[in-house]
Structure formats: structure tokens, C-alpha cells
Symmetry: C2
DNA sequence: CACATCATGTAACCAGTTACATGATTGG
DNA sequence: CCAATCATGTAACTGGTTACATGATGTG
């Protein structure tokens, strides 16, 4: 049950509403841990029942009121405890790979199209993550930022997300090129080094 | 519902028993799509009910009898149809990243240990995948193999798995080095290029 | 004789997805 | 006035994990 801890982590630095969290999980956080709004609202209710977070009502001018959520001491302790446990290994799990594996019985042109589509999306995400990284470290160089910040965690995680997307882009592009070269009888391109 | 299709794909080339499949999902297939034996047996029952696979009993000397499963024509058609649909984007979802994100409130030494552990596992998996690739292409060069085989799918997928594990190893090692350098007051190492 | 491997599952629970539901406010 | 965004959820279903259960055979 790591969604719970992903939520606690997201609340570590900011006081957020359920809505804010849903947005964060669709963007920043979502780049390494995805969850739907419905899942979040359910989890938030459970977390509040368990006393790991508390909410305070904030009235807004010309907006519906919102509940800003904060970690309690118990929530903080829970997070610290969680971080010390050994993490289970993560798996690559990708529908597209299943389809490529079944290329033999698939429509190759449709597959190529999808590979290129996924490559483009990955490139866009990598770009967003790159911008987030420069935003985080500000005017400093990476090494200087990592040496001095007291929250290196988010930066490190963001680097991983970026590597992941870059790797995905590289592979998708190459795989599409390979399949295209095969159907056209052209020479197979090598996998670009990175 | 892509487990169903992952199973069909695994049966595309070989006739397998439930037990064989469970092993394959723990090894080869599991490197890009993981499933537990329980999930598989449940899915197999459903697939047979749906008429997408059939089993034939095989008696063995000095072994319990097993049921070898094969794709039916309907199963093949289902797979072809699935491959043409657009695949939903895959997410990176990793407990370890949640922990690193929460580094601020975690035991840094414990985290470093885990990062190094995960790096070692990733390196081992990458090695296995590399061996699988050389096994698949035999004496040929990659380009020659990909140009001539009629099943490039498994090879391409395997390359992706290897890239993923290499990327994971690179990052885990670097992140551990960064955290270690911070606590020791040493200079932060750069992320190695690849 | 004990442990690993072959071979197959069931039951209970937890996590995640899809579809639906509601109502206010802001910007074009 | 309509669409987008802010803000919060519920209900029904599907998918996945953990723990348990059974029994045969091969290896040290």
C-alpha cells in the first residue's frame, strides 16, 4: 500500500487540498506515481480516519470552500517508518510492449504509428521534467544545488523520471525505425547510444 | 485488461502449461510484464471459458499430468485485434522513488543501502537480458538478425527491458553516491552519461 | 528423510478503473 | 450563455496480492 505514502510525501512540503493533490498526481507526482482523483479522495478519507493527516476548512472569496490537508505528527512518523522498510522491486509494465511482442500477428504499420506516438509523448514529458529540474535548482549548477539543498529527494526523483522518458523515447523511435526498415527492405539502423 | 493479452502473446510461439507460464512470467515475460501464478491460473480459466485457448492433457512418466495450452483461432484473432488498438501510456511506479522523495524525513543511510541493493539487482537483470539477446540472435549481428527473423517482436521487447534495467542501475548508483557525498561533505558526482 | 521442483488451484482481501453525480465561479 | 475550472465525492466493477491448500516425484 504505497499510494498512502505517496500522498503523505506529497503533503510533506505543501499544505494541499484534495483537488490540488489530484492535479499534482496528474503532473509532477504523476510522472513517477500515478493515481486517479477518485483513488485520492478515497485514500484521503482513510488517512484522516487513521489520524495521519488533518484538514482545515478554508473559505474563499467567490470559490467553493476547500479543505487544506496537513501531515500530523503520526503521519510524519509513519512516513519515516515507511522509508526505512525495504522497497519491493518495480516492474516494467507496458501494454505497448505486449503489442510489440505480438508483432508477428499484428498490423505492423499500426504498430509503427503507435511507437512514434509514444515516442513523441515521451519526448514531451522529458521536456517538462527537464524544465522542472532547471526550475528547482534555479541559477545554481546541479552539483551545487544538490550539495546545499535540504530537500534533494524531489530533485533526484525528477532526474529518474526524465531518464525514464528519454529511454522510452529512444527505444520507441528505434523500434519504429527497425520495423519500417524491415518492411521497406532497407538496412536496420543501430540503437543510438546514450 | 492486458494480462489476458500478455498470456496470449506468451502462447504465440510455444505450447505451455500453466506452470510453464508461471515460470515464464517470473523470468522472460516477467521482465516486462509481471503476474503471479494465482493471477495466471485465474486468467487461464477465463481464457478457456472464452474459447481463446484450449488445453490438452499430457500424461508424463513419473510426473503429475499437465495441460498444455494452445491459442485457438479466436485467440489469435483477439490478439491481432488487440495489437491494433492504441496502447495506453505506461507510468513509472516505484516504491523506492516515493522513499527517495521523502528523504528529508528518512534515515539516509538506510536509503543509500536500498539504492545500492536495487542497483545490484538491476545490474543482474540487465545481464540476464543481455544473455537472452545474444541467445536469440545466435551467431548473427543484431542488424542481420533483425533483418531476417520473422519474429523481431520478442527481441525488440528484450532490448527495452535491458535499457530499462541499465537506466535503473545508473540512477540508483548515482543517487546513492549523491546522498553519500552530501553526508560526508564530499563533492557531488555528476550523473554518468550513457 | 528432508527439501526442491512439478503441477494445480481457492478464498479473502486490497487496490485501481470507469462511470456517474453535484454545484459554484470565471473567462470568452 | 457556454465551456472550462474549482471542488468534492459515490457506486459498481475489474484487477491484483497474500495467504492457504494439496499431492506427486526427483535429488542429496
Amino acid at each position: 500500500m504505497a499510494l498512502r505514502h505517496a500522498v503523505l510525501t506529497a503533503l510533506l512540503d505543501n499544505e494541499l487540498s484534495g483537488y490540488d493533490l489530484a492535479k499534482a498526481f496528474g503532473e509532477k507526482v504523476g510522472l513517477f506515481w500515478h493515481a486517479s482523483p477518485q483513488q485520492l479522495y478515497a485514500e484521503l478519507a482513510r488517512l484522516e480516519d487513521a489520524g495521519l493527516i488533518t484538514g482545515r476548512e478554508v473559505l474563499q472569496r467567490r470559490r467553493p470552500p476547500k479543505r487544506l490537508l496537513t501531515l500530523t505528527d503520526a503521519g510524519l512518523a509513519e512516513l519515516t517508518h515507511f522509508a526505512a522498510e525495504s522497497a519491493k522491486p518495480s516492474f516494467l509494465r507496458d501494454e505497448l510492449l505486449v503489442k510489440v511482442h505480438a508483432e508477428r500477428v499484428a498490423d505492423t504499420d499500426a504498430l509503427i504509428e503507435q511507437l512514434e506516438d509514444h515516442a513523441a509523448r515521451a519526448a514531451a514529458k522529458a521536456q517538462v521534467l527537464g524544465d522542472m529540474l532547471t526550475g528547482l535548482r534555479g541559477p545554481k549548477h546541479e552539483a551545487a544545488y544538490l550539495a546545499t539543498t535540504n530537500t534533494p529527494g524531489p530533485y533526484l526523483v525528477c532526474v529518474r523520471g526524465r531518464l525514464f522518458e528519454q529511454e522510452k523515447q529512444t527505444w520507441c523511435t528505434w523500434a519504429a525505425d527497425v520495423l519500417r526498415a524491415r518492411t521497406a527492405g532497407r538496412p536496420i539502423p543501430p540503437l543510438p547510444p546514450r
